[in-house]
């Protein structure tokens, strides 16, 4: 008879969420986590928070550039462009 691993505590489950979303948990770890998630609304909410965090991070757009930095770089561009002519 194979022993079933002990159920996860929430505090352990949260440490597996990122790897779960990366698809990098082993099959047995994944099953153990999914079993926990089915029974735990709080960890399911945590999973949703991490999912939302990743999704929102992907929507972050670049900040406006410091005008001085931009000016320096456009000067460079013009310098290289004119050296091409």
């Amino acid at each position: 008879m194979r022993l079933k691993p002990a159920p996860l505590a929430c505090q352990q489950a949260v440490e597996l969420i990122s790897d779960y979303l990366e698809g990098s948990l082993s099959r047995s770890e994944r099953r153990r986590l999914e079993r926990h998630l089915r029974a735990c609304d709080a960890c399911t909410a945590y999973l949703e928070q991490v999912r939302a965090t990743i999704e929102l991070s992907g929507e972050v757009t670049p900040e406006d550039l410091d005008p001085e930095v931009l000016e320096g770089l456009t000067d460079l561009f013009e310098q290289y462009r004119s050296s091409d002519d």
Binding site: S18, Q49, T53, S57, E59, T61, D64, L65, R81
Partner: protein, 199 residues
């Protein structure tokens, strides 16, 4: 969003606006990734500038076998790494071992005593998308290295774990550990902001 390849074509034709758009798109990530290796923000900005010079010099020879983003980041990490060697800096690529969630939110049995609420419920009617994204950006900017570089590359720029590992010359397992810690911190910080500063 206009495709990088199109902007590069325009740049080759001398279009300054296209260059400005590309620079605006990638300057932030270049500085953040450089900062993983070099000792100051000013040096990281120098690395970014040198990267753009190398791009301007080499763009005609860029054959598009890799994506522009990967090529650009590769130039940046190579430069930053050589400066790190000169500065005798060791790059710390291990993650801290902080818990993902403040331990005080669990009881002695490790079950939630203060359970999380989905962000959608916390946001509801209070903030618009742009305001939420501003919180997320601030949370990522507040991360320490190496988490800041890894989260930026993986979650903001959308590189794969394998690409991040390759670029930073660390193992994929290491990337995943750093990513896990970084995401947990970003999540916690968004949660605190959405709850209006209450823990």
């Amino acid at each position: 969003m206009v495709d990088d390849a199109l902007l590069l074509d325009k740049m080759l034709g001398g279009d300054q606006a296209a260059f400005v758009e590309i620079v605006t798109r990638y300057q932030g990530v270049l500085v953040r990734v450089a900062r993983l290796y070099v000792g100051s923000d000013a040096t990281a900005e120098d690395v970014a500038q040198e990267t753009w010079i190398a791009v301007l010099k080499g763009l005609e020879r860029f054959e598009g076998r890799s994506s522009f983003k990967t090529w650009l980041l590769r130039i940046c990490t190579n430069r930053a790494r050589s400066i790190a060697v000169r500065e005798h800096r060791t790059v710390l690529t291990f993650a801290d071992d902080d818990a993902s969630v403040d331990p005080s939110r669990f009881n002695d049995a490790g079950m939630w005593s203060e359970p999380p609420v989905p962000f959608t419920e916390l946001v509801e009617g209070r903030l618009d998308r742009a305001e939420v994204l501003a919180l997320v950006r601030a949370a990522i900017e507040a991360l320490a290295q190496p988490a800041q570089a890894v989260v930026t590359l993986r979650d903001v720029e959308g590189l794969s774990t394998a690409e991040v590992a390759d670029l930073l010359e660390i193992s994929e397992a290491n990337v995943r550990v750093i990513l896990h810690r970084g995401r947990a911190k970003v999540r916690a910080s968004i949660e605190v902001s959405l709850k209006g500063g209450a823990k």
